[in-house]
Symmetry: C2
Subunit: 421 residues, 2 copies
Amino acid sequence: MALVVQKYGGSSLESADRIKRVAERIVETRKAGNDVVVVCSAMGDTTDELLDLAQQVNPAPPERELDMLLTAGERISNALVAMAIESLGAEARSFSGSQAGVITTSAHQNARIIDVTPGRVQEALKQGQVVLVAGFQGVSQDTKDITTLGRGGSDTTAVAVAAAMNADVCEIYTDVDGVYTADPRIVSDARHLDRITYEEMLEMAATGAKVLHLRAVEYARRYGVPLHVRSSYSPKPGTIVSGSVEDLSVEQAMITGVAHDRSEAKVTVRGVPDNPGIAGRIFRVIADAEIDIDMVLQNVSSTASGLTDITFTVARSNGALAVAELEKIKAELGFDQVVYDDHVGKVSLVGAGMRSHPGVTATFCEALSQAGVNIEIINTSEIRISVLIRDTQLDDAVAALHNAFELGADEEAVVYAGSGR
Amino acid sequence: MALVVQKYGGSSLESADRIKRVAERIVETRKAGNDVVVVCSAMGDTTDELLDLAQQVNPAPPERELDMLLTAGERISNALVAMAIESLGAEARSFSGSQAGVITTSAHQNARIIDVTPGRVQEALKQGQVVLVAGFQGVSQDTKDITTLGRGGSDTTAVAVAAAMNADVCEIYTDVDGVYTADPRIVSDARHLDRITYEEMLEMAATGAKVLHLRAVEYARRYGVPLHVRSSYSPKPGTIVSGSVEDLSVEQAMITGVAHDRSEAKVTVRGVPDNPGIAGRIFRVIADAEIDIDMVLQNVSSTASGLTDITFTVARSNGALAVAELEKIKAELGFDQVVYDDHVGKVSLVGAGMRSHPGVTATFCEALSQAGVNIEIINTSEIRISVLIRDTQLDDAVAALHNAFELGADEEAVVYAGSGR
């Protein structure tokens, strides 16, 4: 008998009818002889509706109360799914995050899971019950207040519960049937991936593939929880996320796929005096405003002027704040101006294969060049190449790379074996 | 500094705008130097909407999950009120029933409060915070599951918290400004009552006055918590419920008012053999179906036939079930038939004055007779007379009694001093 953790997202639960379909799948899994723990997100737009109400009563709602408010959404969906399961003749018990032992830090709206103590969950499983755990929420170890885990929190709950209970698999049900070599809306012959390593999935998620949240994948990698990303609407297998690139043979290591991201903006600080500590000062100001920086480019300074430009990317939603923070230190640092540009896009190639196969970077740049795409910033990891380009060229760039690395469904998926990376 | 517990009903919280008004009143009370604990019901129709969703996924939803589902409603309203309070510059903390220490039996959907251990509430008050406690809900002492208190549960929560914390007053905010001598929609000169004893309020509530729930009044009486029933929409004082009829002087003891109730139905079992134990058998069958009986009438049996009729009233919502249960034992008991009649209404006169003033029953009956109203069943307590009549005559009966006992606002409210009760 296997222990299966299943997580269902909000769109899979947006109506009574969809909830009944989800219940059918859960009961099927139970009847196949598995112990089943289910983690549900809030129904459809519930979270947005609650946020809207909060805004109406307080434009800057206190985070502790926001957590109290939003966690009601998952309690509702979990209780409804439990009822739907019982109407199919199986037994079910729903637990809040707190009842299920999801212990977190006290950082409201963005708490981290410290520990999961699933005593009540295990007790209910022993009694043959399907157990539902409210996603996205926990209870603070210090204050005993209700907390939420931030974006993608229900995925993280599912993985954390799976890890604490040593589950055989954590199935993440979503509205797509897994991870593809590129976004099928952009690349018509994008290929479904049956398997992907944690590291590759992390790079894909970090660079724009929206199917899984970064934190959940990190958590799964740390505890070795196999993930199965699959569709709520189809019985066919999805994508298994497991294993490390370290364990892949050269033959297994391939180019995984192309990810893209339209959510970043480029900030350039022009005419920065090229003195030690100045770049550090700039990035400290951004960090103090709690803004994450993604890509960075520092031009070689002109010897004549002793001035340089510093360019970096941030989330567009933080763009205005980043500019405002920099303007405050303009006089102090003596730079010329801050330029803001949100007509940019990022395209990334991810794959364990680039560790062992040279020439990937060359082919990457050639393919973009042939498609008439100019590279503004480039950034690499051991298994990823990302470039910042004009947003208008993003679709072309994705298609060109997908084609150049022969990732399409029509051809055999082969390891790229060029030369001279 | 006084400790004030305030309870707001769902209609006072049905929109963001109303929530902001409630918050203003709470902050006003706080600024006047009081410690304030607030108990909120779920917003407007939330509970009904959640029940509707539950019905859609399971026509017979399990009660444990129903409690998990419905308690989300109070979490939402409490968190929103806390946010609205903070936007006015005061500090607020909302707690679930479980967090606030509301410990109950494990009877889902109808749990009883066993104890209130308000440690966290007291701690927050000490820090100068307004505390919100989610109404209607608690946590089972035995199973640690979430429970609900049944109808009027938020009133009961407020009274229980007030009792546990030895509050100076428990204010129940509703959409009327207190208790009246009769329903002002029926009797235009119905008079507002400034004070009423627990016993009189219990009789009024039990016989149809909807302003307070029976259980909350019982709880308040047991622990001596003064209640103040008042309007959410007006600053004027409402009705204080406190004290016992035992402590009233003869001069203070008056006729309180006239209550009415359209929710009952009359069941008559005809041709019952007049043997010992038969009536007990009939009422046991009704009790086993968990149906409460209100009024009872057993006719004197005809010596000729040895048969009698047994008549009683139940809630209309239980009428069909009561008849079905009785039909099952028809052959066993050998009665003729069960007759069901839901075109009945109940009118009651309540007042501590009738203990010390004879003649009340006579005047009561005379007034109804003069109004052409026929009495079908009569039932009395020390401070109440109730009669079952045709539902079409209910409004006339209320007006006739209100007038006969000079309860109107235009005349001085005097103790009725007739003779020969």
